[in-house]
């Protein structure tokens, strides 16, 4: 049997990989996100933002502690929970203590559970999970744990902000809710129904439906329903090709109102919408890109574009992750034991580069921050996306959104 020799090669290779990465005096952050496959574009762009932030905000400032540098180590999880767990194991074996991940709440919940179990079973090499993008509310509610920190506003918080804007618009009488048929789409839908019911009971929800995720080739039939229902506004949590397909289809088929959404920018989507999306797309997100909040943010963005001309800063919060982690490590005085670092992070207040201050809420490790409603537009955008001439521009801001929102999180603290 050849099992033995080939397995030997396998493990030997793995060892080589670890040996290469094992250099002293760096604090390594594992970036576990898709770097190949259909979501690689988003993953690679995120990786660049991390590398840039680590370099600019920490290493060029002299590092943390006694000059320890941040190093981002990339792992391709192919957006698969299984691969993520393998890569998590590889990362832990390389002595990495900080795990950053964001794309897909499914992956995030797999990771947070695995990290929780790992930390319980291996108290000697515990790790922290820096979730910078997965917004399923459950991660900071029922599924929360001490090791998980979320730096993005969760879906409920964003919907809260979004519905504030909708509620303020008297023109809107009928709303159509449509989303992908999975947990995030359902969370968006139920949050929308709840908040609209609270804030504007007079608004009629003329449609509330889910479509299969990633499988719809042609959104025309949905657009017909939306037009036929005479909706004044659409709320959707769609992302990727589903966002583009839905958005383009409704606009082509005669819908003229606004589309309130979460993810309709960068990674080719802004370019693909182009002029079609002008005046229609409204996006909810943290991090003010246009107009730049201050000179520092503008300079940072320019430097980023100089290094990555094809890139976008589409996840502004990544700078918060890096800056806050650096502060926490300095406060804790050590990067190897993550427990004091976690305690330092919890409750930390921080001035965001993109304007406003942010606060890591202690009871559920959810970052409370300003949430903006952006418009997709080609006018007056200092920093466009996808080099398309179009970008997103802040229209409304909800300061420290959902600061007092309830949470069901009950975490065990070591």
């Amino acid at each position: 049997m050849r099992t033995s020799t080939t397995l030997g090669v396998a493990a030997a290779l793995t060892l080589t990989v670890s040996a290469f990465a094992a250099t002293a005096d760096t604090i390594k952050i594992a970036f576990i996100d898709p770097l190949s496959g259909p979501f690689a574009g988003t993953g690679v762009n995120g990786l660049h933002q991390y590398e840039f932030a680590a370099e600019e905000l920490v290493n060029k400032q002299g590092g943390v502690l006694d000059g320890d540098m941040f190093e981002i180590v990339a792992f391709d999880n192919k957006i698969s929970p299984k691969e993520s767990l393998i890569q998590l194991q590889v990362a832990i074996d390389q002595g990495i203590r900080y795990i950053a991940q964001g794309n897909s709440s499914g992956v995030a919940s797999a990771l947070t559970e695995a990290i929780n179990k790992h930390n319980r079973r291996n108290p000697d090499d515990r790790v922290l999970f820096l979730n910078y993008s997965a917004v399923d509310p459950a991660l900071t509610n029922d599924k929360c744990n001490f090791w998980h920190f979320r730096f993005d506003a969760n879906a409920d918080i964003k919907m809260d902000a979004l519905t504030d804007v909708i509620a303020a618009d008297d023109e809107i009488k009928k709303v159509y809710i449509i989303g992908q048929d999975y947990s995030f789409g359902k969370a968006v839908s139920s949050a929308a129904v709840r908040f609209i019911g609270e804030k504007r009971p007079d608004i009629e929800i003329v449609g509330n439906e889910l479509h299969p995720i990633g499988k719809v080739k042609d959104f025309t039939p949905y657009s017909r329903k939306i037009v036929a229902a005479e909706a004044d506004a659409i709320i959707t949590g769609n992302w990727g090709a589903d966002m583009l397909g839905l958005g383009k289809s409704v606009l082509e088929n005669g819908y003229e109102g606004p589309i309130f959404t979460y993810y309709a920018a960068a990674d080719g989507i802004t370019a693909a919408f182009g002029a079609t999306g002008e005046g229609a797309l409204r996006l909810v997100a943290e991090g003010q890109i246009n107009p730049p909040a201050n000179d520092r943010a503008a300079a940072y963005y320019e430097a980023f574009k100089a290094k990555y001309p094809d890139g976008n800063i589409s996840q502004a919060r990544i700078t918060n992750v890096i800056e806050m982690l650096a502060r926490a490590i300095n406060e804790a005085g050590s990067a190897t034991d993550v427990v004091p670092v976690a305690y330092a992070l919890a409750g930390m207040e921080h001035e965001s580069m993109w304007g406003g201050s942010v606060m890591m809420r202690e009871q559920d490790h959810q970052l409370i921050q300003d949430v903006h409603i952006h418009a997709h537009t080609g006018n007056d955008v200092t920093f466009d996306y996808d080099n398309s001439g179009f970008g997103i521009k802040v229209e409304e801001t909800v300061t420290m959104a959902a600061m007092d929102s309830p949470t069901t999180c009950e975490m065990d603290r070591p």
């Binding site: 049997m1 050849r2 099992t3 033995s4 080939t6 397995l7 030997g8 090669v9 396998a10 493990a11 030997a12 290779l13 793995t14 060892l15 990989v17 670890s18 770097l35 190949s36 496959g37 690689a40 660049h48 792992f75 391709d76 192919k78 698969s80 929970p81 299984k82 691969e83 767990l85 393998i86 194991q89 590889v90 832990i92 074996d93 390389q94 709440s105 499914g106 919940s109 797999a110 559970e113 695995a114 179990k117 079973r121 399923d136 048929d181 999975y182 947990s183 299969p212 995720i213 499988k215 100089a306 290094k307 990555y308 001309p309 094809d310 890139g311």
Partner: protein, 432 residues
Amino acid sequence: MSDQITSEPTKPAQRMRAGSMVLPLAPWLIAAVALVVLPFIFTNNSAITIMNQMAITIIFALAYNMLLGQGGMLSFGHAVYAGVGGFACMHIINAEDFFAGLPLPLLPIFGGLFGMGLATIVGSFSTRKAGTVFAMISLGVGELIAACSVIIVAFFGGEEGISGDRTYGLPFFGVEFLQQIEVYYLIAAWLMISAILMYLYSRTPMGRMANAVRDNPERAEFLGYSARWVRFYSFVASGFFAGIAGALFAINYEILTEENLNTTQSGIILLVTFLGGVGFFFGPILGAIVFTLVQTVLSLQTELWAFYLGIIFVATVMFFPGGLAGLLMMHVPAWRMGKIGHLAWPYLKTLGGGLIGSLGAAALIEMVFHLRHASIGDHEMTLFWTTFDSHTVLPWIIAGVTTLIGFGICRATAPALVEAWNEANAAPKVAP
């Protein structure tokens, strides 16, 4: 439509004389010893994780080959049987009262039973025909169940899947399976058990008739066997072992998601099995090992790993339909005649050249990719531990020349290899 699987004509030549020995023990003993010893050599957890993944893939690929290689049935949706077995196990793990009384090592039996149950239901109508009809039904059912996984949240948990904690089972001789290494031995034990059982199955009347039905279903019918039921039983047996693989997945990762069911997963197992070789029992084992390495180790080195894998796969189908195992077994006659040594030097020359050429070509591919997709202004790339500027001419010349020289050597030495090959295989025909 015929359902024949091509296998090497050399195959029967090395088969044990029936009746003399049922289970050649040596390879199994070596494998068992290797499985015990490996974690002592490669102690870090990630190596163990990769070995666990490998072992699970091996079981799944062997189960799949019960269909494809032995039964001649091409399934495009076999992941669902492993997946459903795994999901069922996850629910058992989460059924606290029941699980507290169940030692974890017995869990795979339940996975197998659930996989088998689903296979019984689907097989009852899908195995009536082989060939395209079977393949299409398997595709349809696979898509259906995968699509259901996001709709039927109660069982499949939506896109987040179902997770649980394996350590709450009844301790097994004091072992609670907190550590990866304990899980490794559990999986390794099941790997041995499943592989032996599947091997033995191929030696039973059912296993033999599966081959007969694969080669000539009509003739089998005139020997008293219903081709349909033979296919059905193979299918059910395959579902059982796929379910075991799913259960081990549940134990190792403690989570099952939609990706355990979808057509990508089904496609991967087809790829693994075919790459390893469907004509031999150990083919899928090779395939699973190579594939897991490519997926976990090569993907750390290049984001083009799937591209290379695609090339390797298509080349395998076109030039070596026997897969890796077929390639290896081609050498058995020469080896038996003690002439394998004559091939070593010609092989070294030709394959060495081929290897250099392939590395050169890979370098060219990586450079083209970098040139096209790296950010504007990012000229620096690292390849084979060398960092250089992809926008200068020199690296291109080096890579191009390497490729040419490599393939040149390969081409120039190929006739000599062919000659050596013929020489090594030219047997003085001795009638037994």
